[in-house]
Symmetry: C2
Subunit: 105 residues, 2 copies
């Protein structure tokens, strides 16, 4: 695999699986490419939210707007240039119930 | 580990190891945190370049300015919002000689 570049216009954005909010996501690199990580873009309409249990370690970088991520530990909110790290759900029952909510403000 | 957010002002930026260009980098998450990926920020002064053999799979997102990445396969250049994937050097000799050059324009 050689060096590649991607922008959001390269991604085929589809509704995030299992939810009906105005949130579209698309991967450009994933396990089919043989690499250890997936790379993708997402677009969240204003006021939309997504609740999910993290199956993988997720890193997000905000490019436009503002995004909040909430878990049972609290909420963090930030704007462009900010990274979020969302660890996969811990196998202990309390952590498994933790859910991540992403909401652009 | 819970959800965390980071911005470039959180990173302790130091000169990239083994080079003397006006390029500063800093990790905020790495193997010491127990996760599978490292997360960091870098700041490249205009016209500076960095040549390295990739020891890991690297994903970069341009936040400001423009960045070029060159290998023996050619050069790709892009601006804000664009992602680059730079695979680790392939163990074959020809690939091991491949070097990545990052240069903000």
């Amino acid at each position: 695999m050689k060096v590649q570049k991607f922008s959001i216009s390269d991604a085929e954005l589809v509704k995030s699986p299992g939810q009906d909010a105005d949130i579209y996501v698309g991967n450009l690199v994933d396990e089919r490419n043989g690499g250890p990580v997936s790379i993708g873009y997402g677009r969240y309409a204003p006021g939309q939210s997504l609740t999910k249990t993290m199956a993988v370690d997720d890193t997000m970088i905000v490019l436009e707007g503002r995004l909040s991520v909430s878990t049972s530990d609290g909420t963090v909110t930030a704007g462009p240039g900010t990274s979020f790290t969302c660890p996969r759900a811990n196998p202990s029952p309390s952590r498994q119930r933790a859910r991540v909510r992403r909401r652009p403000l």
